[in-house]
Symmetry: C2
Subunit: 213 residues, 2 copies
DNA sequence: CGTTAGATTGAGGGGATTCAAAATTGGTGG
DNA sequence: CCACCAATTTTGAATCCCCTCAATCTAACG
């Protein structure tokens, strides 16, 4: 994307912040701007009136969220998992700009394609994997992500409580805890301070979690 | 989209056909053109080497498939569920055209957004619903689709074997069969000829299946 | 009428859930 | 620095739901 376009794009975005646990948007609310995260982690989720909740997507720095609408209203809930900072983009002005800049439209499509690919993988995980496989897959996924972004090799900071991991993996908190225990007993991972885990055997972790690419 | 653009678009597409059960593309294969279905139903799926398989998306007339790639290779399997006819579009030429026609880019984005919305809903189904809820949800979804497209009100032609429904809902064939039996006993649906079901009580079907909009 | 593919039904076992208790962690103020 | 409390995690026991494996039933077809 050329410089002028990039400057215009940045000009569109107002910086916004949320505290850990705060709602960024709620399903059913009229849609406002959408967001591109510059700091922190957020989750996109969906809830039933009986309390059941499913986390649909994890979003970190560089990812966008809040763009899915059903006739002008948010289709999902968005929540700050940690403290979050994000750029807010006005939809209409963004659309106008992207009509003039094909590169931008391409970037949006690539983002959506990546989200689709990821959720296709999660459908496999939720539909076919059992608990230990799901948890291993989750750790392997984080391991692959952190692989790029520093920290001592093999060390993962979860930033999610067991109950949130459970909501992501379609399990109960206790089941997640038991699965972690099993992986620990098998020396695949180690747990330090309950929200930091160390990958002892990446090979086996990917194997148990059927994690490819 | 204007007429000239539409004509160009159609000129891009070669018509292709598949017999019921045939593979349209396979995960790992180099990507070719993508497809827009003009007749029949197809499924997008993903398999593990141990034989477990998850159907990720159902695609009917008007839907596109085969556009998701991971560095030039198909990320999923595509299969004709019934006999299928589709328009095949060359990616590169399509991209060139869509760069000149913002409307086309918008249409693609809307298609992807709809697929994302749908798979978000399926994540909820697979992660949180129990068997009868899943099956009811599935029927309610079909009911809503067929609602538009004729046939006597309440009558659904499945076109899927129990084992395929099972692969879609993350269950076993036998469990699907039992769930159907339960819905039948409760007079929510009735079964005729094993691949045609009649919705007796749409209200309760949507209720059991937590189906909204 | 026999054959075959698909659907249903039954019995038994296993994995995840539920509910409850115990252990650990984290935060706060003394 | 430690005591104390709240929040979270872990563990245990009982239950439930789904899966597995097998047998039976049904429908379509030669």
């Amino acid at each position: 994307m050329d410089e002028a376009g990039l400057r215009q794009l940045l000009a569109l975005g107002g910086q916004r912040r949320w505290k850990k646990g705060e709602a960024m948007f709620r399903a059913g609310d009229p849609v406002g701007p959408f967001f591109k995260i510059t700091k922190g982690v957020a989750v996109v989720s969906r809830s039933l009136d009986d309390g059941r909740r499913q986390i649909v997507l994890l979003r970190a720095r560089g990812d966008c969220l809040g763009y899915l609408d059903k006739s002008g209203r948010h289709a999902f809930d968005g929540e700050a998992l940690t403290d979050v900072e994000a750029c807010a983009f006005d939809r209409r002005r963004f659309d106008v700009l992207s009509a003039r800049h094909p590169d931008l439209a391409t970037a949006v499509m690539e983002m959506m394609a990546s989200a689709l690919w990821q959720s296709g993988r999660m459908l496999m995980v939720l539909g076919q994997f059992q608990s230990t496989e799901r948890v291993a897959h989750f750790f392997a996924e984080l391991h692959a992500l952190y692989g790029n972004a520093g920290v001592p090799p093999g060390s993962l900071c979860l930033q999610m409580k067991r109950s949130q991991i459970a909501e992501y993996l379609g399990l109960r908190m206790e089941t997640v805890s038991r699965a972690i225990g099993k992986l620990r007993k098998n020396k695949v991972i180690d747990v330090v301070e309950s929200d930091e885990i160390v990958v002892l055997d990446p090979e086996r972790l990917r194997e148990v979690g059927k994690f490819a690419d």
